[in-house]
Symmetry: C2
Subunit: 321 residues, 2 copies
């Protein structure tokens, strides 16, 4: 939760009334964010067995990447969305863990030599640099699989088994061949090719956006959202997911490896289409601010219980602007 | 279904009254097995999108391995188990597809250069030899993820959402860090080491057994099994799963690459512990026959609707004895 706390504490000038509103709320929400992140860390630590027995190195390898910190953005979004519609955060805790496990598996596999071949992640050696390619592949496989087990077993605090099943189906759809994996394939296949802005949006809606949408919609469903609330939160999460990617492209272009804890400037080196390469840096920042406004607008009908979601939107968009 | 049909048609002498009974039933069940396999093939073909769009090569790669034939043993077991307790096979069809998708993902990842580095599977080039390591890794990831989506979306023909959720949790548990992936890690980590028979059983209960148990228990649960029926079918599936592995070890030792459609004799080359290396060929065959008897005994309280399960036990054990 280091990153979110750092955000809450520092003073970044905001660019519009709405952004300023989000920022002010974030300050008052420091405790909220801190508590939720701590809950998630505890639950994640219990989600993977302690290393012992003949498969001890598998559990070690899973824990190495899962418990390496990180922003925990997707799980916090799930809890905040659950609470925005009046649910208790515990109802979405299984989903929160599943989201972070799926996100972590995708990072482990993306870093493999046969994919992006990265040595550094979250400020330390990538999984395969420590455990080897075979164990890293298997640790990713196990995190992905266990994620669905943990969500399926989180039924007791959910409104109904049917709700959990629908949340799980949407999470799997967002992560698989119609979502995140498709996005990764499109990303690889389009290296060195020109993409227009609609193709780039198509890519990112799958590669990163789908999991944001699954986090927010899933959290809301487990909190007992009405269809209308679900619709509004879907709009919020789509804007937020795209904003996240636009900002990621900007950071890859502007930040140093040291600041990010992972290799930067690699998109250009690989000839990958990004928002800055497509529309320039200034217009990319403008787009991120516009998406931020859209995310906040989608929350207008919600009361103060959606303040964490508002603060999270500001965090995502303003982490570098 | 080539393999199962071939089994039904040929005449192998059986070694005991129980084995003979299983074999006789198999002959009369040729149509059953053929029909169920055809149903599964059709459902699998609909489980993965036709190649189109920017991620077309992902879908191609998934279909290449998923629709490559194979015995379809796990899905047929799920349908047969569903029917053994009086359910309609359609209730377990989502589970059947999920099982084969998970089995296929595990083969694709096991064949990768960083794992077993195999070139040949089901008589043709392995996935990564055709599509490259990155796409093979991602096709495996997508098959695994989509498996849970398809099972979660198969609710309409199941007894209840709660039943599907429990089946899904057991399937994920059988496939992840407590099951198949752990088995694969133990297998890799114990290369060149001596394992005793209890460690070898521990390994195989995870690597192959767990998915057999999930197939049979899941099919039964979706067919509306009573707790007592579920217990008996669990005993059946444990014996069957271990028998399958013992036979696999024997085949790896005795059969040629041409007969198996995959590289054989590799266990010894890799210094892997196997049943023949641990107890000799004759005693391994004796163990397989003993497990076969135990599997059939577990079915004694079931009527003729369990005949397909009896025939499948005979198929698994007698394919080379």
């Amino acid at each position: 939760m280091r990153d979110l706390k750092a955000y809450s504490a520092r003073s970044v000038p905001s660019r519009s009334e709405k952004a300023r509103r989000g920022l002010r709320l974030a300050f008052s929400l420091e405790t909220y964010l801190h508590n939720r992140a701590a809950t998630i860390e505890r639950a994640l630590a219990q989600s993977v067995p302690e290393p012992s027995g003949l498969a001890a190195r598998l559990f070690e390898s899973m824990r190495y990447s899962l418990l390496a910190g990180g922003k925990r953005l997707r799980p916090v979004l799930a809890l905040a969305s659950c609470e925005a519609v009046g649910g208790k955060p515990g109802a979405a805790l299984g989903l929160a863990c599943a989201l972070e496990m799926i996100h972590t598996y995708s990072l482990i596999h993306d870093d493999l030599p046969c994919m992006d071949d990265d040595d550094l992640r979250r400020g330390r050696a990538t999984n395969h640099k420590v455990y080897g390619d075979a164990l890293a592949t298997l640790a990713g496989d196990a995190l992905l699989t266990d994620a669905f087990k943990i969500l399926a077993r989180s039924r007791s605090r959910a409104p109904s088994a049917a709700a959990v099943l629908e949340v799980l189906a949407e999470l799997a759809e967002a992560s698989g061949s119609a979502g995140m994996v498709a996005g990764q394939v499109i990303d690889i296949e389009s290296e060195g090719k020109e993409l227009d802005s609609s193709q780039l949006e198509h890519l990112h809606a799958r590669k990163t956006g789908a999991l944001f949408v699954a986090a927010v919609r899933g959290g809301a469903r487990l909190g007992g959202a009405s269809p209308r609330e679900l619709g509004r939160l879907t709009a919020y999460s789509r804007a937020l997911g795209l904003a996240f990617q636009v900002i990621d492209d900007i950071l890859d272009c502007e930040a140093t490896t040291e600041q990010m804890g992972k290799r930067t400037q690699k998109d250009r080196a690989l000839g990958k289409a990004t928002y800055p390469s497509l529309m320039g840096l200034q217009q990319s920042k403008e787009l991120a601010r516009d998406l931020h406004s859209r995310a906040l607008e989608a929350l207008e009908a919600f009361d103060h219980r959606a303040d964490p979601l508002r603060a999270l939107a500001s965090f995502v968009v303003e982490r570098n602007l």
